[in-house]
């Protein structure tokens, strides 16, 4: 087990008094408590560390052992016994075997945290809800266009989920009872799934509305006509009015993205026309454009 400097974690000096330890712990606990830092893994880790540091340094006996033996303080008694045997002719092999205990880590402390708090309030078996787990699910925008089922593996456990159409990027869905085990028989924690959606389509999404840009040839823009455009779920024919300007926006009602948890309700698709001007003209075309220009010039 790697050496953990509890004094450093609590940001105190090795000569700190018991009161200073208590004060430092409370200050840091208020800063990093998981209830005050939801979904903040860094704060959660830090909180585990300061709890462990406090459990050791706030207990005079543990602190003494820690100061003397460092990372192996939990095996202090074994060391001391071995030391006595050594002085009395005991073998050194036993001492070597005694070291290196690593059965406890931050997780153990965290799991006992709420229970530990309960013990300090009178030694009873208080039930607490288990730890909430957080996970991120990476999907494609196309995946969440329809409601579908998916199996996730979280901490070795398979969870079959129904993912409703219209889930948003960054949205968090809570699955009750799929978190950590409760303390002292308390209920299980929850599983928070954060959706991370990648968009590889030609559409941009804002909530339930979609946006796209469609190239429109000069002649259709001037004379009007009919074009075929892509929507998220297929192609549609669209009438173009004569004299359509560059940047004109057209709304296709109900052709946007599904509205979350509103079955059959869709947003709109906004199409922006981008008129394409021919860059290379034949002699004949040039001649005809000049003729048109003359007609327009008084």
């Amino acid at each position: 087990m790697e050496f953990i400097d509890y004094y450093k974690i609590l940001e105190i000096d090795k000569k700190a008094t018991d009161d200073a330890v208590k004060k430092a712990y409370r200050k840091l606990a208020r800063k990093y408590h998981p209830d005050l830092n939801p979904e903040n893994k860094e704060a959660e880790k830090k909180f585990k560390e300061i709890n462990e540091a406090n459990e050791v340094l706030s207990n005079a006996e543990n602190r003494k052992k820690y100061d003397k033996y460092g990372k192996d303080w939990k095996n202090a008694e074994q060391y001391e016994r071995a030391g006595q045997q050594q002085y009395g002719g005991g073998n050194r092999g036993q001492q070597a075997n005694g070291g290196g205990g690593s059965e406890n880590d931050f997780t153990d402390f965290f799991e006992s945290m709420f229970g530990g708090g309960a013990r300090s309030r009178g030694g009873g078996q208080v039930k607490y809800k288990g730890q909430d787990y957080q996970t991120e699910l990476h999907l494609d925008l196309k995946d969440v266009y329809t409601t579908h089922q998916r199996t996730l593996t979280v901490n070795g456990r398979n969870i079959r989920l129904t993912i409703p159409a219209g889930v948003k990027n960054g949205q968090v869905i809570k699955i009750k009872g799929y978190g950590g085990e409760g303390v002292n028989g308390g209920p299980k924690g929850d599983l928070d799934i954060k959706f991370s959606l990648a968009n590889h389509t030609a559409f941009k999404r804002d909530e339930e509305n979609l946006y796209s840009t469609v190239d429109l040839d000069l002649y259709t823009a001037i004379l009007g006509g009919e074009i075929t455009v892509d929507t998220f779920d297929g192609k549609v024919k669209l009438k173009v009015s004569p004299g359509t300007q560059n940047g004109t926006k057209v709304k296709l009602k109900g052709k946007g993205f599904p509205v979350y948890k509103k079955e059959g309700v869709f947003g709109d698709l906004y199409i922006t026309y981008q008129i394409t001007i021919p860059t290379v003209l034949s002699e004949k075309e040039k001649e005809l454009f000049m003729e048109l220009q003359k007609l327009r010039t008084p």
Binding site: R26, A29, R30, H33, D35, L36, P38, F114, G117, A118, R121, G122, G124, V126, K127, Y128, K129, K168, N169, G170, Q171, N199, K204, R205, D206, E207, Y211
Partner: protein, 97 residues
């Protein structure tokens, strides 16, 4: 009232080893909603998580009930801001090529 989905404050008090006055103050401050039956106060089961959080703040961080009120209001504002940030970030993607 059917008490199937409710837990009495007395049960909570003994279960969590927290003085009943703590829950009464939470009720007085409007931090938890209760139903009354036969002169006993009951809380909805699905609100237990919130109550547990209040107990933790009170015992582990020594936050008083007024402080809990402030913390919950601020956490709610953080949640609102995070939602707003998520929407804004997603909207920003509209303008990114």
């Amino acid at each position: 009232m059917n008490t199937e989905n409710f837990i009495s404050l007395n049960t909570l008090s003994s279960h969590y080893q927290v003085d009943i006055s703590f829950f009464n103050t939470l009720v007085e401050m409007g931090l938890i909603e209760v139903e009354v039956l036969d002169q006993s106060f009951y809380i909805q089961q699905d609100k237990i998580t919130v109550v547990e959080k209040m107990i933790r703040l009170h015992h582990e961080l020594e936050v008083n009930v007024e402080g809990i009120d402030v913390v919950f209001n601020l956490l709610e504002r953080i949640q609102d801001l995070q939602n707003e940030l998520m929407i804004t970030k997603n909207r920003l993607r509209l303008y990114e090529s």
